[in-house]
């Protein structure tokens, strides 16, 4: 029994005050969020572990899915439709666009369904609810990391020479993750309130694939329309990633607009999530 006393004797006792919906963005919220990071990692680990349980190929699916899509796109759009790829081998070109897109789309989709799937937890235990879509997004990030290995192999196989541009890669990755978090939090909260999201979202994501230069280069879009296109943050991100990997000049305007739009979506998504989070257990 002494273990009880021991384990806590040197720990400061936190004082928790709970009142009717007080300050939404209190310091306490961020403290809680930071303390819940282990829970987020555990939930991520659970999601990754369970996703490929009872499959023959296991985590290879994380690589196979974008790879097979890439091959199909390469045959239809690269070979048959002969879509330009700005001088880069089309297979490589489309794969570099598919990876961030696949991450974004699976992160947003699984974040959206995560709240409802974990409603049993939400109704029984308190923790910052952002942990749940956060874990869903992190699990998608694990898949991105796995398939990035394949991209690296392709880059070497095609003897591409990245050059200094590649230094911006981490920043672009952060932008990608921030966008996924913003949109993911937004749709997670929306889906908790309105289950319509479950039906509308896959459809919307499918359409957005064509509004994003994944299978075609942004140079195919008339110059006048490009700034509007870039309001979709994935446009600037994919354009930037290609510039970084293929040592092409960065399209500053495009990336700039996407950066602003990404930041806006992140703030919007997070605030809406926080607004819904407060009485989530009562409505889910």
């Amino acid at each position: 029994m002494h273990s009880y006393v021991e384990a806590n004797s040197n720990k400061p006792v936190p004082i928790v005050a709970i009142t009717a919906a007080g300050a939404r963005w209190s310091r306490q919220y961020f403290v809680d969020l930071w303390q819940a990071r282990e829970l987020m990692f555990m939930l991520t680990w659970r999601d990754v572990k369970l996703r490929y349980r009872q499959t023959l190929l296991g985590a290879a699916w994380a690589i196979l899915q974008p790879l097979l899509t890439m091959i199909v796109f390469w045959i239809f759009f690269g070979r048959l439709a002969k879509i330009s790829s700005d001088g880069v081998p089309y297979a490589l070109f489309v794969f570099a666009g598919l990876l961030p897109w696949t991450f974004f789309s699976s992160a947003v989709l699984s974040a959206a369904s995560s709240m409802v799937e974990n409603s049993a937890l939400i109704n029984k235990v308190y923790f910052p609810r952002a942990v749940i879509p956060g874990a869903a997004i992190l699990a998608a990030l694990v898949d991105l990391a796995l398939s990035s290995v394949l991209l690296a192999i392709l880059l070497v196989a095609y003897r591409t020479n990245p050059g200094w541009n590649v230094l911006a890669l981490p920043l672009l990755l952060i932008m990608l993750i921030v966008t996924a978090i913003g949109v993911g939090l937004g749709v997670a909260a929306l889906n908790a309130k309105y289950r319509d999201v479950r039906y509308a979202l896959p459809f919307a994501l499918q359409l957005s694939l064509f509004l994003t230069p994944v299978i075609y280069p942004e140079s195919m879009v008339p110059v006048a329309y490009r700034p509007f296109l870039a309001l979709n943050p994935m446009v600037g991100i994919i354009s930037g990633l290609r510039s970084a990997l293929f040592n092409a000049p960065y399209n500053g305007t495009l990336i700039g607009i996407s950066l602003l739009s990404s930041a806006f979506l992140a703030i919007l998504g997070a605030s809406y999530f926080r607004k819904v989070e407060v009485d989530l257990a009562d409505c889910i």
């Binding site: 005050a17 572990k49 939400i122 257990a281 889910i284």
Partner: protein, 430 residues
């Protein structure tokens, strides 16, 4: 001593709309918005419902506080507010220390994961760090007695193993305040004893436990203080014995106020057809009987109605514990002496029990109408509450109560000496 938990003027209000689905669709919201703006229609359909209001509570460190009250009185809402699962509408809670809640055993357990994996996952969900779980891992495994199945997915566990593991993780949390909601309703007696002992230990080392239960016997044995929640407020708070007494008197008063005491259930809303409309208690002579005690002779008269004639019907009567465990299931059908057909209109059937075999305490009664072996026509497993009063049937001053055992049927004991005496007596008679 400074209090570890202070609840001040706490209230939780829900807006309920009985006709609306549990969640809205975007279309609903848009159409409501349009209606509201165009027709200036107000939110008339939403009713305010205070699940809890004006609740004040102070708990000192190391106290084991029992919370009792009828279903829907607000007990779980109180625990949900203290554990921050949901936010209060008004009032304030101040807690000095970590709060962990056990609002359901095995929250977050995943059937596909192994016992070991679930220990870490469940620990994280309940607020333990990996290091804390690792530090207590052996104790958790010891307590749960599942060491040989650590690497087996919990979907292959028996119910008992599952519950033991779930409680083991929760019991080794190290919060200053532990909230427990009716966990002991499940599991076998050995498991329950183990859990109770553990909760006692936790309180013994200065931790605070808030404990919701329907099991009045456990509450009075375990807790130092007890509060009774009624209609969303604290109706009584004091020693467990006084609180349980208050609660029992209140239950009796409530039962008497709504209808005649011998009527256990009565409804005028007959939406279903056929359906049961009334259950009453009678004594052996057919007179109405207000209370039933252990070993009483009692008749349960079940009134049912049907719009059409149905042939070869049956009526079934169950008695369940308050935790929902079925104790008896009596049916007209296996009893071949009964041939029943429903005629259009209202009719009744009597279930005569010469010596009612249940201990004193709270039970629920369920009734079903069926075409036996074919289909259910109507079934309500918890239709009415049944309170069995104490009766000193053994003449020992100790009436059988549910806190000890649910069932007490007629029986005799005989020592070996008595048996021998009787045998020799029998022999000498020959």
């Amino acid at each position: 001593m400074q209090s570890i938990l202070r609840v001040e003027q706490l209230g939780k209000m829900y807006k309920i709309a009985p006709t609306r689905a549990r969640y809205e669709t975007l279309g609903d919201t848009i159409s409501t918005l349009v209606r509201r703006t165009l027709l200036r229609q107000s939110r008339l359909e939403l009713k305010q419902f205070w699940a809890l209001r004006n609740v004040d509570l102070e708990v000192k460190p190391g106290e084991l506080v029992g919370i009792i009250g009828r279903n829907g009185s607000g007990k779980t809402t109180l625990l949900k507010l203290i554990s921050r699962v949901t936010l209060p509408t008004e009032g304030r809670i101040e807690a000095h220390g970590r709060i962990a809640s056990l609002l359901g055993l095995g929250t977050g357990f995943h059937p596909e994961l192994t016992g070991r994996e679930n220990i870490f996952l469940n620990g994280a969900i309940l607020g333990m760090s990996r290091a804390e779980v690792r530090g207590q891992f052996d104790e958790i495994v010891d307590f749960s007695e599942i060491e040989t199945f650590l690497e087996t997915p919990v979907k292959f566990y028996s119910n008992g193993m599952y519950m033991r593991l779930a409680f083991a993780v929760a019991a080794h949390l190290q919060p200053e305040i532990l909230l427990v909601d009716e966990v002991l309703a499940v599991g076998d007696a050995a498991f329950q004893r183990k859990c109770l002992a553990k909760m006692n230990d936790i309180a013994g080392v200065g931790r605070t436990v808030l404990f919701v239960s329907h099991n009045l016997g456990v509450v009075s044995r375990l807790c130092k203080t007890c509060v009774v929640i009624k209609d969303g407020h604290i109706a009584y708070s004091g020693t467990p014995t006084d609180a349980v007494g208050y609660y029992e008197r209140d239950l009796l008063a409530a039962a008497g106020s709504s209808r005649e005491p011998h009527v256990l259930f009565e409804t005028s809303e007959t939406i279903d057809d056929p359906s049961v409309v009334k259950i009453e208690m009678l004594d052996g002579e057919g007179r109405s009987k207000a209370t039933v005690a252990t070993w009483d002779e009692v008749v349960f008269r079940v009134w049912f109605q049907s719009k059409e004639a149905i042939r070869n019907t049956g009526v079934e009567l169950q008695i369940n514990t308050i935790e929902g465990q079925r104790l008896v299931w009596l049916s007209t059908r296996p009893d071949n002496t009964v041939q029943m057909d429903f005629a259009p209109g209202v009719d009744y059937v009597d279930c005569h029990i010469p010596r009612f075999p249940l201990s004193a305490g709270e039970f629920t009664i369920g009734v079903g109408l069926a075409i036996p072996g074919m289909k259910w026509l109507w079934l309500r497993e918890e239709l009415a509450q049944l309170r069995v009063l104490e009766n000193d049937v053994y003449g020992s001053g100790m009436a059988p109560v549910t806190g000890r055992a649910q069932i007490a049927f007629e029986h005799t004991w005989k020592t070996s000496a008595q048996t021998r005496n009787q045998e020799s007596g029998d022999a000498s008679n020959v």
